[in-house]
């Protein structure tokens, strides 16, 4: 017979069910011929069963809330905004005497994910709006394809806002990467070549609904808000107040979906 000799590892493999059927059969034959070894291996197998039975109840215990994975994930993603709220609270405490005004300031300064959303919209604006070669991936002429693409990536039906009444034509759009997942970016221009960007994505748990607030960073700015877990930001290199009616229009159309 040209079978390799039975080794110690084979015996453990036999106990743990880790052998190929053929090798397993060879070990079984070997054990039939060696009762002393068979006794030892039988004892190991019994040990294994005893340990498994003794420890099984632990796995059946209900999980304590600290080990709820959904909660751990949620805490993890929410942490930054919690820190911001804590900072806002500290600010309030330190200047408490100013009352309502301080509160208003602190709240406006800490709208959680809206700040990030507006920054993402601004970043997209800064990268794509000056691009004269390929500012958008899919052009307005293929808007059906654009809608399909961004809806697929955002896992929800996305409607492209129509800003024609405000004098802005759709140029097209693309999916952009953000730290909070994929976002849909739509770009518009007017007769003077002035461009606007609308960015929309799902919001993390913190800012499911947030009123429209003015956001600006340098000379690019605009507004951001969130409705039912979906965030929007409209930005451009124009006076923010001239964007407000357009932002209202975008929100009105989005709510009408």
């Amino acid at each position: 017979m040209n079978h390799p000799p039975i080794m110690e590892d084979d015996l453990h493999g036999y106990v743990d069910g880790a052998l190929e059927p053929e090798r397993r059969a060879e070990v079984a034959t070997y054990l039939d011929d060696h009762p002393d070894v068979a006794k030892r291996i039988g004892a190991f197998a019994a040990q294994r069963e005893l340990l498994r039975a003794a420890l099984a109840p632990i796995a059946d215990e209900p999980l304590p809330p600290e080990l709820n994975l959904s909660r751990i994930i949620e805490q993890r993603t929410r942490r930054p905004s919690v820190a911001r709220w804590a900072m806002a609270a500290m600010l309030l405490l330190s200047i408490g005497g100013l009352g309502g005004w301080a509160m208003r300031g602190a709240l406006e300064a800490s709208p959680g994910g809206l700040v990030a959303l507006a920054q993402e919209a601004t970043a997209s604006y800064n990268v794509y709006a000056p691009d004269h070669v390929r500012p958008v991936e899919v052009r307005a002429s293929d808007s059906a394809q654009l809608v399909q693409w961004v809806s697929d990536r955002l896992h929800r039906p996305v409607k492209v806002p129509d800003l024609a009444a405000s004098g802005y034509r759709l140029m097209g759009g693309r999916v952009v990467a953000t730290q909070h997942g994929p976002a849909a970016m739509f770009m518009y221009d007017d007769d003077h070549g002035s461009r606007l960007v609308v960015l929309t994505r799902s919001m993390s748990s913190a800012d499911q609904n947030a009123p429209m607030t003015r956001q600006s960073r340098g000379d690019v700015g605009g507004f951001a808000w969130a409705d039912d877990g979906v965030g929007y930001s409209l930005v451009g290199r124009v006076a923010p107040e001239s964007l407000r009616p357009i932002a209202n229009e975008v929100r009105k159309q989005a709510r009408a979906i």
Binding site: Q47, A54, A59, L67
Partner: protein, 174 residues
């Protein structure tokens, strides 16, 4: 994170079981599992492919080893006389309970490195290769530790007295 939830959540009971069998204290074990899950959430983007189970057990095992080191550095023995606060075998019938308690007490007398191999292979059903990965040791070392663990546990079960000097102190000196 949805894929993580789907892949990791079903493994939490096994992680608890391993941690509890290793450190023998419910609160300490659950703390380790919680640390492990938080770390896994943070590092999920680093997880590429292969056995999620081996990846998680490796994180958990490293945390447990750190824990052992900290306890050792404080100059205290890991309490083994924890029968009163242990919850092993709660669901089992009374006579089984005693038997289970007994084997777990004996398991606790194995050196930690042997106990870890035996638990990963015999209880958690990790392949020898995955156990080697979790413990960051060569496959041959897994096999020799497994063999020694089984021999030693069998001696304990059969009540064989060991040679003096080779006895691990069972209880901390009060």
């Amino acid at each position: 994170m949805k894929d993580m939830l789907l892949q990791v959540e079903p493994l939490i009971p096994a992680l608890r079981r391993y941690a509890r069998a290793l450190v023998r204290n419910r609160a300490t074990a659950d703390d380790l599992v919680q640390d492990c899950l938080e770390r896994a959430v943070r590092r999920w983007h680093q997880y590429r492919q292969g056995e999620v189970r081996a990846w998680l057990f490796a994180i958990l095992h490293n945390l447990a080893v750190d824990q052992f080191r900290k306890v050792a550095a404080r100059g205290r023995h890991v309490a083994i006389d924890a029968t009163s606060e242990d919850h092993f075998g709660e669901a089992a019938a009374q006579e089984h309970r005693l038997m289970y308690q007994d084997v777990l007490n004996k398991l606790a007398r194995l050196p930690e490195e042997q106990r870890a191999v035996l638990l990963l292979v015999a209880v958690e059903d990790l392949s020898y290769a995955d156990a080697a990965r979790v413990l960051n040791i060569p496959l041959g070392t897994v096999m020799s530790r497994l063999s020694r663990a089984r021999e030693r546990l069998q001696q304990e079960i059969e009540g064989v007295t060991e040679a003096p000097g080779n006895v691990v102190p069972m209880r901390s000196v009060k």
